[in-house]
C-alpha cells in the first residue's frame, strides 16, 4: 500500500469533478465558472496541504509512486537509444537496462535500474533488484564507455541488490565490489541520476560518478528503510521510524555534500509533470558532461577520487580513552 496513492485519492476525486464541470460548461447553457474556480481553489489548497510538508516516510512512498518516471522513461527520451543486452556469462538481467544513445548531439552510454509499471512487469524486472549478472552487464557497458571515450550516464532506482540464493551463488558481493572499482577508475565522465529509490550497495554500484543529480523526492540511503529496520531492530515493520532517522531526503544529501544538484519536482511529485522533469534532468546531465569534458582525463579521475575521499565524519582524539 503506497501512502501517497492513498493521500492523493481526495485530490484525484476533486480533479475528476472539476474536469466533469468543465465539460458541462462547454456543452450546457448553465455557467459553472464560479463553481469551477471555487473547486480549483480548493484543489490547490488540498494539494498544498497534502504535499506541502511531507514526512520522510511519505517521501519514501513518493519515490516509490507507481506513476513515477522510471529509468526507461528517461532513457527513451534520449535520441536513438539502442539497448545492449547480457553479461556474456550467464543471462540478461532485465532489472538493469543498458545501451547507447544521443543526448542532443552527444553520443553517450547509459545504464539504468528498471522497475516495473505493474505486477507483471515488476515480476519481469524483479522489482528493480538486480542480480550479479545485471551488475556484470553494467561493467561491460562502463568499459565500452571508457574504450570509446563516451560519457556514461546512469539512472539509479532500486530498493537494493536482490537477496536470493542464485544471487549469492553467483557472487552478488563480487559483482557490486567490481562495479564500484570499475567506476572509481573509469577514464571517462560519469554522471549519476538518482531518480527514484537509491537503496544501499545495489544503488551505489552504478553511482560512483563525477556529478550526482538527485530528484527532489527521490531517496538515497545505506539500506531501504525496511532493510535498515530489520538490521537494526529485527523488525521490518519499524520502517517508518528508520526512514525518519536515516536522513535519506535530497535536501539532507545535498547538505552532506553527497549529491551535487537537486532537480526540483512539481508539488505532488515528478509524476505530476513527467515530461518537464525528464527534460530538466537530461538538461542537467548535459550541462555536467559539457563541464566534465573540459577536464583532462587524469584530472577527471583525480577529482572523482577526491570527491569520495573526503566523505566521512571522524575526529582525531587527543588521547585514547578506551580501556586498551
Amino acid at each position: 500500500m503506497n501512502v501517497i496513492v492513498e493521500l492523493e485519492k481526495p485530490l484525484i476525486e476533486l480533479e475528476t469533478k472539476i474536469a466533469g464541470l468543465k465539460k458541462l460548461n462547454e456543452t450546457q447553457r448553465v455557467d459553472f465558472s464560479n463553481e469551477i474556480a471555487l473547486l480549483e481553489d480548493k484543489a490547490r489548497q488540498l494539494k498544498a496541504e497534502i504535499f506541502g510538508n511531507l514526512t520522510p516516510w511519505q517521501r519514501v512512498h513518493l519515490a516509490r509512486h507507481p506513476k513515477r518516471p522510471l529509468a526507461l522513461d528517461y532513457i527513451s527520451a534520449l535520441d536513438g537509444f539502442t539497448e545492449l543486452h547480457g553479461d556474456r556469462v550467464f543471462r540478461d538481467d532485465p532489472a538493469i537496462v543498458a545501451g547507447y544513445a544521443y543526448l542532443g548531439d552527444l553520443p553517450i552510454f547509459v545504464i539504468g535500474e528498471q522497475k516495473g509499471r505493474d505486477t507483471k512487469d515488476n515480476l519481469y524486472r524483479n522489482f528493480g533488484m538486480p542480480h550479479p549478472e545485471g551488475y556484470r552487464k553494467a561493467q561491460r557497458i562502463m568499459r565500452l564507455a571508457e574504450k570509446f571515450g563516451r560519457p556514461l550516464v546512469t539512472f539509479i532506482d532500486t530498493p537494493g541488490a536482490y537477496p536470493g540464493i542464485g544471487a549469492e551463488e553467483r557472487g552478488q558481493s563480487e559483482a557490486i565490489a567490481a562495479s564500484l572499482k570499475v567506476l572509481a577508475g573509469l577514464r571517462t565522465p560519469v554522471v549519476v541520476n538518482i531518480t527514484g529509490e537509491g537503496g544501499s550497495g545495489g544503488a551505489l554500484a552504478i553511482g560512483v560518478g563525477d556529478h550526482i543529480v538527485m530528484l527532489q523526492h527521490s531517496i538515497y540511503s545505506v539500506a531501504s528503510p525496511e532493510a535498515a529496520a530489520s538490521i537494526l531492530w529485527r523488525d521490518a515493520t519499524r520502517a517508518e521510524e528508520a526512514a525518519q532517522r536515516l536522513r535519506l531526503t535530497s535536501d539532507e544529501l545535498f547538505e552532506f555534500g553527497i549529491v551535487d544538484e537537486v532537480i526540483k519536482e512539481p508539488l505532488g511529485g515528478a509524476h505530476q509533470d513527467p515530461q518537464r522533469i525528464i527534460a530538466e534532468t537530461l538538461a542537467a546531465d548535459r550541462r555536467a558532461i559539457e563541464r566534465l569534458r573540459n577536464l583532462g582525463v587524469d584530472e577527471l579521475v583525480d577529482r572523482r577520487y577526491e570527491k569520495f575521499r573526503r566523505i566521512g565524519a571522524h575526529v582525531e582524539l587527543v588521547h585514547d580513552s578506551a580501556a586498551r
Partner: protein
C-alpha cells in the same frame, strides 16, 4: 546482581558462555578451558570450530612482532545525529568499553613471515564490525600509506556491513575504500583479503571481494545479504551450508579456504610470491 533472563536482550550470550574461565563451543557444545582455547588460537579442540577473534588477538596471531599502528586515535562523529533506544554516541561508548577498541578496525604496518606489509583487521565485537566513517577512513589511510611505501596490503574482514547509524555517509565509505583499492591496484601492488566469520553487506561488497587473492577462513559465514533478509525475501529453505566459506569455494567465489592454524603460513608464502618484485626481500 546477575541480569534476570527476561531482561536480557535477544541474541545476547547466555550466562554459561560468558564464564570467566570456561567457554562453550557453539558448534559441538564442548566445555573448553579458556586458557587452552586461547593457546589453540580459539579453535575448538573437539570439533575444530573457529571462534570469532578480537582484532588484537588476530594481529598477535599474524604479525611477526612489532605492529606499527596507523591512525590509532580516529574516532567517529555522529553525522546523522542518530538516536534510537539510546544515542549513537552512547552505543559507541559501550562498544569501546566492551572491546577496548576505539573503533571496529585496527590498521598498521608489520611483517608477516618476514614480509613487510600493511595489515587491517576488523573486530566483529565492536558494533558488529560495521563500517562507518572511521572504518572507511582507516582502511583508506592504510591503503594510501602502503601505496606510498610500495607495500602489499592484507585486510582481514569481520563485518555485518555498512553501519546503519551513519546512514548514507557509511554507504559512501564503500566508494571511498574502493577508490583507494583501485589506485593501489593500478600500481601493481597486491591486496589480499581474508574473509572471516561473518563477512557480509557493504564490506563483502567492497574491499572484501576486491582482493587479488581472496582467502576465506574455515567455517566463516560470507555473503552479500544476511540469512535473515534472504529468509524473509524468498521464504524457502536455504541449501545446506549456504554462505559458508566452503560453499563459496565450491561456487568459485574465493580462492581458498584456510584453517586459522595455517593462515599465517599461507599468507607469508603468498605475500613472498606476490611482492618479490615490489619489495626485495
Amino acid at each position: 546482581m546477575p541480569t534476570p533472563s527476561w531482561l536480557r536482550r535477544r541474541g545476547a550470550k547466555p550466562q554459561a558462555e560468558t564464564d570467566a574461565l570456561w567457554e562453550i563451543c557453539p558448534s559441538c557444545g564442548e566445555r573448553l578451558y579458556k586458557k587452552d582455547l586461547a593457546e589453540r588460537m580459539w579453535v575448538c579442540s573437539r570439533c575444530g570450530h573457529h571462534f570469532r577473534l578480537h582484532a588484537l588477538d588476530r594481529i598477535a596471531l599474524l604479525a611477526d612482532g612489532d605492529f606499527q599502528e596507523i591512525a590509532p586515535l580516529l574516532a567517529t562523529g555522529d553525522p546523522l545525529g542518530w538516536t534510537d533506544r539510546m544515542p549513537y554516541g552512547a552505543k559507541i561508548a559501550g562498544d569501546r568499553q566492551k572491546s577496548g577498541l576505539l573503533e571496529a578496525v585496527v590498521v598498521g604496518l608489520c611483517r608477516i613471515e618476514g614480509v613487510r606489509t600493511g595489515l587491517g583487521v576488523m573486530d566483529f565485537f565492536f558494533r558488529g564490525g560495521t563500517m562507518g566513517s572511521v572504518v572507511g577512513e582507516k582502511v583508506t589511510l592504510l591503503i594510501e600509506e602502503c601505496a606510498r611505501q610500495r607495500l602489499p596490503v592484507v585486510l582481514v574482514t569481520a563485518s555485518g556491513g555498512a553501519r546503519m547509524e551513519e546512514g548514507v555517509v557509511a554507504l559512501m565509505q564503500l566508494a571511498k575504500t574502493t577508490a583507494a583499492v583501485e589506485r593501489f591496484s593500478a600500481l601493481g601492488l597486491p591486496l589480499v583479503t581474508v574473509l572471516t566469520d561473518p563477512t557480509t553487506g557493504g564490506v563483502s561488497a567492497s574491499f572484501g571481494f576486491q582482493g587479488d587473492v581472496i582467502i576465506a577462513e574455515t567455517g566463516a559465514a560470507i555473503g552479500f545479504a544476511g540469512r535473515r533478509v534472504i529468509d524473509q525475501t524468498i521464504r524457502q529453505k536455504l541449501p545446506e551450508g549456504f554462505q559458508s566459506a566452503e560453499f563459496l569455494l565450491e561456487h568459485g567465489q574465493v580462492d581458498m579456504v584456510v584453517r586459522r592454524t595455517e593462515l599465517k603460513g599461507a599468507l607469508g608464502r603468498l605475500l613472498k610470491f606476490l611482492s618479490d618484485k615490489a619489495v626485495p626481500a
